[in-house]
């Protein structure tokens, strides 16, 4: 069966990924589902340990090295006009082709992701030639072109620089150049701007948006920064304790959240402009308590122990994802009463 343009580029259904630890099995991702239509950006937000990075590593099939396994679910990549790719059941050789060719990934720390003994040009050339049949000279031309595209000044000379000769912002742009040199259908960006200064972050976000328009790629953007999500995402998935607790269009998530955790997150960040508002409190709203122990998750709703709206019923059974609006779901039985 070939894919039509109406099929989303990426479909994740009922994904479960766990890690064996000395303390027991950690269900890092537990029944996560979402889709990313072609050319759009899904922002995944959540705090440390919510499972957002493991979700992306599962899509790349990179969890085995860390002792993890994908236990259940479907990860399907639908490239227009081509048969759907069942990522979970792909052999390793084909999977290597998918990584880089179809799905590329950029990480938070560009210094550790670049090889310090190779010039940045060599690293881009390697990526290009691994996935495309071109000569070394052609690949070098492509590398220079990519560096120019990501806004590196004087790319003809910079191409021979080594990673340590570049600033953090430039290294991250080089990582993006490597990731994009194969024109992937999906870019997974895991906290790509967290280590960067705001003015450089603004440059990188502009760059991702511009390239998305130019090559029509889809983006899975993982971050804990709600401001960044508001700027870059079309849709947002909020993760808590291994589950998507709310998912919907970016406007709905920010203006009409329907899960108490989303509300708690939005209220706990200082609002820009608070200094011009004499009524603004010097106290922030907080979410009491701490996330649950991953080896001893609550039986019912995982947020219930911290939730201001929790009732006895919340502890009885895990809540399903209720449809709460147009393309908007929330995992909360009291969602009609939830408001910002």
């Amino acid at each position: 069966m070939t894919t039509t343009s109406a099929t989303p580029l990426l479909e994740v259904e009922g994904l479960k990924t766990s890690f064996k630890t000395s303390r027991g099995i950690v269900k890092s991702v537990d029944d996560v589902s979402f889709v990313i239509p072609a050319g759009t950006t899904l922002g995944v937000v959540g705090e440390s340990g919510s499972g957002k990075s493991v979700t992306s590593l599962s899509i790349m099939r990179l969890v085995a090295r860390g002792g993890g396994s994908i236990d259940d679910g479907v990860i399907r990549l639908n490239k227009p006009g081509q048969p759907a790719i069942d990522i979970r059941n792909l052999d390793e050789k084909s999977m290597r082709r998918v990584r880089g060719n179809d799905i590329a990934m950029i990480f938070q720390e560009p210094m550790t992701s670049l090889d310090p003994v190779w010039s940045i040009g060599d690293q881009i050339i390697e990526a290009v030639r691994l996935h495309q049949k071109v000569s070394r000279a052609e690949a070098r031309e492509k590398a220079i072109e990519m560096l120019r595209l990501v806004g590196i000044p004087a790319p003809e000379s910079r191409v021979d620089d080594f990673p340590h000769q570049l600033s953090g912002g430039m290294r991250q742009r080089v990582m993006i150049a490597i990731a994009l040199s194969c024109r992937p259908a999906l870019l997974i960006a895991d906290e790509p701007t967290t280590a960067l200064d705001v003015t450089i972050q603004a440059q990188i976000l502009n760059l991702i948006r511009r390239l998305q328009k130019e090559i029509g790629m889809s983006v899975l953007f993982i971050t804990h920064n709600l401001g960044v999500v508001a700027e870059i995402a079309d849709r947002v998935a909020v993760m808590y304790a291994g589950q998507v607790v709310e998912e919907g269009p970016v406007r709905a998530i920010f203006s009409a959240p329907r899960h108490p955790y989303t509300v708690g997150l939005l209220k706990s960040i200082p609002t820009p402009g608070s200094s011009s508002n004499p009524m603004a409190s010097r106290k922030l709203d907080t979410i009491g308590g701490a996330p649950p122990d991953p080896v001893a998750l609550p039986h019912g709703c995982r947020f219930a122990p911290r939730c201001p709206l929790a009732i006895d019923e919340c502890q009885k059974a895990p809540p399903p994802l209720f449809p709460v609006g147009e393309n908007h779901g929330a995992r909360c039985i009291r969602w009609p009463e939830v408001s910002k």
Binding site: M170, A202, G227, S276, T286
Partner: protein
């Protein structure tokens, strides 16, 4: 009536780090980390120090703590210039000025119990008897919202937010008059960050703390600080009360910094001013105004003179020669 004497008055503070010269090179090079910085912090005031990597904000904090010695300038704390105080005399001031770090345990002995870590400062300064110190540790743990049993546990048993509470308790143990907080919440998750900010706010109100709050998150600084100092490449660009700085920035760098900060509102309109290029090398900073290579308002004159930090409204200072912008 004259203005009250500030608790901390920094005048012309300069810190240059020598760079290892290349063999046979005649020129000695320096990293110009902090250049001619002057500001003051009043008693009970919370002053934010913002800027990007390499702006010199952390160096200023470390110089005030005398963890590094200034190249030039004065650091007047409560009437005494501590910039060049000998080590022995500095000890007394170490007790008055304490620091809260981004991760308080990154540099501490993981084998020490939390109680020992908090009591360490009191021991060094000879405060109280062992029994009194134990009681004080319990009181401090309660003050920062932890149970007294925490004293018997090890740092690794605590979450990031709890560790930061312990770091704050440790800083408060010697009853300091001044706290330098260097990115105290930037490593924390947002919900934990809110808890720690609220704790700092409570402590500030209860104990009348004076805080120099070093951070790169502009909305956290807007929320928490009374006054804000904006730095770029070792120099102060602008100083203003928070409500003025955020509503009507007068320096091109502040304008760009504020417009670059992502806002948690998908409907926000508003043009983003992207500063092109990267921060120049602090070894060889641009002549004149350090921002001019990236400033959209730069004129030829900007390369000629270092713009002085001048008062443009009460309490509002900027280092920019242009008054026809913003």
């Amino acid at each position: 009536m004259s203005a009250p004497i500030p608790l901390l008055d920094v005048r012309g503070l300069t810190k240059r780090f020598p760079v290892k010269a290349k063999p046979f090179s005649r020129q000695k090079k320096f990293v110009h980390a902090v250049e001619d910085v002057s500001f003051s912090v009043g008693r009970g005031e919370v002053v934010g120090l913002v800027g990007e990597s390499g702006s010199g904000k952390t160096t200023i904090g470390r110089t005030i703590m005398r963890l590094t010695d200034p190249t030039a300038g004065q650091i007047v704390y409560d009437g005494t210039d501590i910039a060049h105080l000998p080590r022995r005399q500095m000890m007394a001031f170490r007790r008055k000025i304490q620091m809260v770090f981004q991760d308080p345990f990154a540099s501490l002995n993981p084998r020490s119990k939390v109680g020992e870590l908090i009591a360490e400062g009191m021991e060094i300064h000879g405060i109280g008897t062992p029994a009194e110190r134990r009681a004080e540790v319990s009181r401090l743990l309660g003050l920062v919202g932890l149970s007294a049993e925490a004293a018997q546990r090890f740092p690794h048993e605590f979450s990031g937010g709890q560790r930061q509470r312990i770091g704050i308790a440790r800083a408060l143990a010697v009853s300091p008059g001044f706290i330098v907080a260097d990115e105290p919440v930037s490593a924390l998750d947002v919900s934990v960050q809110a808890q720690v900010l609220n704790l700092l706010q409570d402590l500030k109100e209860q104990l009348g703390l004076t805080i120099l709050f070093i951070a790169h998150d502009l909305s956290v600084v807007e929320h928490f600080c009374d006054r804000v100092i904006v730095m770029y490449l070792g120099r102060i660009m602008e100083i203003a009360p928070r409500e003025r700085l955020y509503a009507a920035p007068k320096h091109p760098y502040t304008e760009a910094l504020l417009s670059a900060a992502p806002v948690p509102d998908p409907d926000r309109e508003g043009k983003r001013i992207v500063l092109e290029g990267d921060i120049p090398s602090p070894i060889n900073p641009p002549s004149g105004c350090v921002l001019r290579t990236r400033c959209r308002y730069a004129l030829p004159e900007c390369a000629q003179i270092v713009p002085p930090l001048r008062e443009i409204a009460p309490g509002h200072l900027k280092a920019c020669i242009r008054d026809d912008i913003l």
